[in-house]
Amino acid sequence: MILIWLIAILLVAGLVAWATARWSTQAARWVALAATLADFFITLVLWARYYGQLSILPQGNWIEQVDWKWIPSFGIHFHLALDGLSLLLIMLTFFLGIVSVLVSWKEIQDRVGFFHLNLLWVLAGITGVFLAIDLFLFYFAWEVMLVPMYFLIAIWGHERRQYASVKFFLFTQLSGLLMLIAILGLYFAHHAATGIYTFEYEQLLGTPLSSTAAWWMMLGFFIAFAVKLPVVPVHTWLPDAHTEAPTAGSVILAGLLLKTGAYGLLRFVVPLFPDAAHRFAPFAMTLAVIGILYGGMLALGQSDFKRLVAYTSVSHLGFVLLGIFAWNELALQGAVITMIAHGISTGALFVIAGLLQERMHTRQLDRMSGLWNTMPRLSGAALLFALGSLGLPGLGDFVGEFLVLMGTYRVSPLLTILATIGVLVATFYALRLVQRAFHGPNLHEWNLPDLGKRETAILAPMIVALLWLGLYPLPVMNTFKPVLNRLQNYVSRPVAALRR
């Protein structure tokens, strides 16, 4: 039941915020903040309570679950379930949710109520994606989260918001429908094999499939997740959407929506279609490396702060894809840590871009220079997150990418070496960003206020979280490890066996 509450709190608070904004916009903001805080608190309690017994869970494989009949004639259940992996991801969701509400406190001044409605509903949709283990429900949540996100970009975005929002919607919708076809293909294949109509994840695991069928279905799922992740040839929506979205939108896009793609690959693609994934692994890993290098190179060439950070996401998520298709313990752990760390560090970089835009009304690096003199605390924080992004040891991203590279090395040294070059590129773009924006003389004679109390309250926990992940990731790893072991058990033979 607690899982229902997590979603219901967000949905109801969204409506309440919308209604109260008529009288007081401030009240709407507080409602939204209270809802995200409450959800975050609930997940913390859950984590504390079940931390000790993650490997021997009370309800089968799940910490908590809700299973209601929804559309019985199709065998569709309203089935939400929580395990260590989804726990961490929804914790990240609510954490970044709090950040998004706080960061919009001053930035969003018109249509405040409707903004918070959309903000909370997109968080609810994302929570649904991370919790759903009925494939129909998963698809439902997957599509539903698009609509509020579309509005966030289309109404409160920057100059080219119409173009960016429509592009975002069309890309995800098309790929999502391909996944729907694959889901239905699996559904009927399962019925053909067992005589049972079901969308239940755990029952669909191990459905016997012909190798052609499995290949096409796997591709259907993969394309949907690849667009979200994003993987290189289908990434073009991302820089537009991230750049044009309001700060909260960028934080949610980069921090959470991209993770839904990674989560899908991890939870569905490989376990449901192990053999097809095995055959596809060389392609996927090559695409991942292309993404790492290409995203990094493009990031080097950007003059727009947000666009630069957006391209770094392409590069970082390449590591996640690499780790998932390498499919061994180290690589998978690395992939999950990268997902979380990237959510925090990139989210924070978008927050900083938002703070700069609020103060300077520009995102162009040319217009910035020597900001350290006028805003030392903000610049210091930016430096830290940029270092996180380049993979400095001691910060979360390092742990993740290092583990991914170690895991991948066992599978393909060549791809590992190429991916390592990506880390080098990251050094260039991250340092270039810091140099151009914050170091050097204050050419444009900016005189700007430094971080206020609210802004410090946003960034400080993010710094702490990133340091924690970098220095002592053990509790987090203990939480998702049993899940990864279980996922690996579904796959009988190694997924990636490339020629060395």
Partner: protein
């Protein structure tokens, strides 16, 4: 014909009686409000009679009409849609200073025609129903005689519908010459029995498909649709899009699916081509439009294409999917045209995309309803349209019709683009306040739209009651 037959026909009899009653009442004294109440009461009574008739089904009443669960289900759908259209008409024509009462007579006769189509089992009743529907529509489409566009639309519809009816009749004649019967089930049996070498029969059937295709406005028989939708008063356009097309599709579904005629490969090929052409053509042409009514017209062409995909699946699954999708399509289309209708004023229709600029910030509820309707047309979750599309894709997947499904998916994403365009305009903050065509939204219109929106979300999130009802119509 005996008493039981009369009970089985009760919904039709009540509809016909109401039409006469409204006519008499109008002759005595013109009163728009009273006419509406009489019409609504008649429709509600006819709706209620479905349950009385249900005790007699299945029943073949003469050789013309077959009343069974299937007919009754579609009676209910058509009558409910007419009910909504009648209220929208009242709201719409209140703003016009003309004789309005006859419209309701036409509406009732057209509904009766649709119901006869659904129940028909013979060429004679098929043609009778079709003409009752069409002839009423000629007048309804051009019901604003002082405006240019409705007249043009009416004449266009008249000429094309008359031509297509002639083609249809010729097809029937050919089949009668060949088989010596005008009974549908025997014709369908002959088709299904693999007599595909029977040229005369095939010619006749293809001519009939042309006639049906015209009514459904599928590609390439769609040319009248955008002009008629644009010219007709918005609630009448809603009627054309729902009752007229729905009744025809129900007829098609009954005879090509239930009798095993779907085994005929040539016919399947014809329908496949029509389906693909409708999906692609409808969606691509809608991209070029700036007029909301024309967008809805082209999108309805595409939706008929989606329906044909489920139709081509055949079997239980396909028939159920078609029926579910039709219900979703009815609710959505009525809602979308309802918004246009409610927003239109006495002087002009709210049909240009610019009329909708920033609507959300001025009329949040109305824009919200329109958004939900458009998202349902696009097939976004939480709406009936999503589950409808899901059902169709599921039906296609169950029969491994992958090519058709892929085309459906790709074209429906194109569709999403033009729906989003309208949505985006509604949420756009205009530089200056645009002039509102309708200064006031009536409570009545609001109630209809609100009900439709709630129905849409209800079917979209909790479809089990509807699914169970459809199951009883198509028992496995």
């Amino acid at each position: 014909m005996n008493g039981t037959d009369a009970i089985a026909l009760l919904p039709l009899i009540v509809l016909a009686g109401t039409a006469v009653l409204v006519m008499l009442a109008t002759a005595v004294r013109r009163n728009h409000g009273f006419t509406l109440i009489l019409t609504l009461a008649g429709l509600a009574a006819a709706f209620g009679c479905i349950w009385i008739a249900a005790s007699t089904v299945p029943r073949q009443v003469t050789s013309l009409l077959l009343i069974d669960d299937y007919s009754l289900f579609y009676f209910g759908l058509l009558i409910a849609a007419s009910f909504a259209v009648a209220i929208l008409c009242y709201d719409y024509f209140e703003k016009h200073d003309i004789n309005r009462e006859e419209l309701y007579i036409l509406l009732l006769i057209a509904t009766l025609g649709g119901a006869v189509l659904v129940a028909s089992s013979h060429f004679a009743s098929f043609f009778l129903g079709l003409e009752m529907l069409s002839i009423s529509l000629y007048a309804m489409v051009s019901y604003l005689p002082l405006r240019r566009l409705p007249l043009e639309a009416g004449i266009k519809y008249l000429i094309l519908a008359a031509t297509s009816a002639a083609i249809l009749l010729f097809g029937m004649a050919l089949i009668y010459a060949d088989l010596g019967t005008m009974n549908f089930s025997r014709v369908a049996y002959a088709l299904g029995a693999g007599s595909s070498s029977d040229t005369l029969l095939l010619c006749g059937v293809v001519l009939i498909i042309t006639g049906i295709g015209f009514k459904l406005a599928v590609f390439p028989f769609h040319l009248w649709t955008p002009d008629v939708y644009e010219g007709a008063p918005a609630p009448v356009a809603a009627f054309v899009a729902t009752v007229s097309k729905g009744a025809m599709f129900a007829l098609l579904l009954r005879y090509f699916y239930r009798s095993g005629a779907d085994a005929n490969r040539q016919l399947l090929l014809v329908f496949t081509i029509i389906a693909i052409a409708s999906m692609i053509g409808g969606n691509l042409l809608a991209l070029l439009q700036d007029n909301v009514k024309r967008v809805l017209a082209y999108s309805s062409i595409a939706h008929m294409g989606y329906l044909l995909v489920a139709f081509l699946t055949g079997g239980q699954m396909g028939a159920r999917a078609v029926t579910f999708y039709l219900v979703a399509y009815f609710i959505t289309t009525l809602g979308a045209f309802g918004v246009v209708s409610v927003l239109s004023g006495g002087d002009a229709e709210a049909e240009h995309i610019a009329d909708y600029q920033g609507l959300f910030w001025r009329r949040p509820a109305l824009a919200g309803v329109f958004t939900v309707m458009l998202l349902s047309l696009a097939g976004i979750p939480m709406t009936a349209g999503f589950l409808g599309k899901f059902y169709i894709v599921a039906a296609g997947a169950s029969s491994a019709n992958w090519a058709l499904i892929l085309i459906l998916v790709v074209t429906s994403v194109i569709g999403l683009y033009y729906y989003l365009r309208i949505v985006a305009v509604m949420y756009f903050t205009p530089e200056q306040e645009p002039v509102l065509i309708a200064p006031q939204i009536s409570t009545l219109g609001g109630v209809v739209l609100g009900t439709l929106a709630i129905l849409l979300l209800w079917v979209g999130t909790y479809p089990s009651p509807l699914l169970n009802m459809i199951r009883t119509v198509f028992p496995s």
